[in-house]
């Protein structure tokens, strides 16, 4: 029964994070949401008795994916609708 509660919470959180990552206009928040998706997915792999997959997902999904998305956002624009507002700290690329 206790696993039912824990897995229900994890399932609700991962679906909510996926919807948030798709619907959010600010791309930085969407990237943080993908980090949360990766975290919850790692715990689900762990509960599905696959610790090696959970280890790889933790190493790649949390650290490396976040880093390359942040570098891309820093080199391009932060907001999905570019004409709305620019990031204050965006440095000139071109």
């Amino acid at each position: 029964m206790i696993y039912f509660i824990l897995i229900s919470v994890l399932v609700v959180l991962i679906i909510g994070a996926a919807v948030y990552a798709i619907r959010q206009k600010d791309l930085l928040y969407a990237v943080i949401a993908t980090g949360i998706i990766s975290l919850i997915l790692s715990i689900l792999f762990y509960m599905l008795q696959a610790p090696d997959v959970a280890l790889t997902e933790a190493a790649i999904g949390v650290a490396l994916t976040t880093i390359i998305f942040i570098i891309t956002i820093r080199n391009t624009v932060r907001f999905e609708d570019e004409r709305d507002k620019k990031d204050k700290f965006k440095s000139a690329v071109k």
Binding site: M1, A21, L27, S38, A50, T56, F69, T76
Partner: protein, 124 residues
């Protein structure tokens, strides 16, 4: 501590994985921003990995790793083949994401925008 807790939860995992795939597919097909499309592809990747691992799960099984704790008390193991496949698929998914983001940066430096409606010419 008994391990037979997966009664209807495996169906729940299947439904979750399919729902995540559909959400990511919606994002990859509908959104206009290129980075949002890459995020959608990444979400699809996560859902596919979860689905394949959930297919290989066996009720009451343990991880397919030999260790002294297992040899003292042997019980049945889950299927190791989907785990090996997913282990490769995660790394390949990261490579795909990295290449796609590199192309996004190149496109932005050439066109000055990320909206795919404004990127029309094929040659760059």
């Amino acid at each position: 501590m008994n391990n037979t807790y997966f009664d209807l939860l495996d169906y729940m995992i299947y439904g979750t994985a399919i729902l995540i795939i559909l959400i990511g597919l919606y994002g990859a097909l509908v959104k206009k921003s290129l980075i949002k499309i890459v995020i959608g592809l990444s979400v699809v990747d996560s859902g596919v990995n979860l689905l394949i691992v959930a297919i290989g799960y066996l009720k009451g099984g343990t991880a397919p790793i030999f260790s002294p704790g297992y040899l003292a008390n042997p019980i049945k193991m889950v299927d190791p083949v989907p785990q090996a496949l997913v282990l490769t698929a995660i790394v390949i998914g990261f490579g795909v994401t990295a290449v796609a983001l590199a192309l996004v940066i190149r496109l932005y430096r050439h066109h000055g925008t990320l909206n795919i409606d404004e990127i029309k010419d094929l040659k760059w």
